[in-house]
Symmetry: C2
Subunit: 213 residues, 2 copies
């Protein structure tokens, strides 16, 4: 049984795209081969740097941190739903995939927006779940939903309503995915693996699909 | 097909064990719900914090960084070899498992040392690969080797010879694993998933086994 791994993660570096008014990651030598005999970098980044996952306490005080979930929460069956060239992700679009959504633990939305990574336009008008679509989706037994753009809410949605609808049901949110065009049309094994940070409101993840070939 | 996930990773927090003379991780609010409407933590840690993986350039200038390997490098079949209550990991011990080692991509060594995590004695005399055992092991087609203690070399081995023997063959080194006592005696699927940091000499990982039940 041969596995094919598809990496769905943006590279973390000093010039990467970050959400407006949040921390840019940086890297500096902490130990060096010359001085210490081995090299280590000091990493400075945020819990929401790059491809990452949001825990409920990212928005809602007193709700769960990432470390309140077992690792199993970040692994399961997934499908991808195409929303390229759409103005929004409508209830109608979701209902057309209801049977598939019922069978999986993760739904990923492919807008093609990851092609704009490191461009200013990345923070433009990507297709967002409508309020009724977010509400309908939140009734499923999903572990998380994922997007190839920066936020489950529109850039001008200051109260972040879709975040609240999903996180209040412990449906986690994966943002800044990439390479979703490499995924099959049918169900696949999906992983969004965070660091094991105590009480974190989120974590950078290594997201990938594992296909049997 | 039901999967069982066994997490083999220490929790990252401010009081965790770190290698002598290296950076302690720290966490502080970077964005807050009160001020920004959402919470993010600023993470400061090293590329070798907690359960982590070493790339060749951790010790050898000009050799490969972690980002030079595809994600596939961190996933594969593994066995665990028991070295509890042994003074060293001898060639004889390894040879007794030669057939098994030939079948896998990862060999994990279980000394029981992870029980001393957060104790001073963690940096004591754990059982280390002898030079001939490390050399013999480096001839296999392994992706990485892993340990439930802090280093593939003894604490007083200033030149880190076992690191050099393995890393020069692109066999990566996973250190500070935990819970290896929960693993089966036979082969299993193993993951040591790093962050996707450009040109890093290592990365904290989320290490886990996936068992079919």
């Amino acid at each position: 049984m041969q596995k094919k791994i598809i990496d769905l993660t943006h590279t973390i570096n000093g010039k990467m795209t970050v959400y407006p008014n949040t921390l840019k990651p940086s890297f500096e030598p902490s130990n060096t081969i010359e001085r210490d005999g081995f090299a280590e970098l000091k990493l400075t980044m945020a819990t929401h740097t790059g491809t990452h996952i949001d825990a409920p306490c990212h928005l809602i005080k007193g709700e769960k941190a990432l470390s309140d979930f077992p690792l199993d929460k970040f692994i399961g069956k997934a499908i991808v739903i195409d929303c390229e060239r759409k103005d929004e992700i409508s209830l109608e679009l979701l209902k057309s995939r209801e049977n598939d959504i019922n069978e999986v633990e993760f739904v990923l939305f492919r807008s093609g927006w990851s092609r704009k990574w490191e461009e200013k336009d990345y923070f433009g008008k990507y297709p967002v779940l409508t309020a009724e679509a977010a509400q309908w989706l939140s009734e499923f037994k999903l572990k998380a939903v994922g997007f190839d753009y920066v936020s489950v809410d529109a850039m001008d949605a200051s109260k972040l309503p879709n975040h609240r609808i999903l996180l209040s049901k412990d449906i986690l949110i994966i943002e800044n995915l990439t390479c979703l065009n490499k995924l099959p049309e049918t169900e696949f094994d999906f992983y969004a693996i965070p660091l094991k940070i105590e009480n974190a409101d989120g974590s950078p993840v290594r997201a990938f699909a594992e296909l049997i070939r």
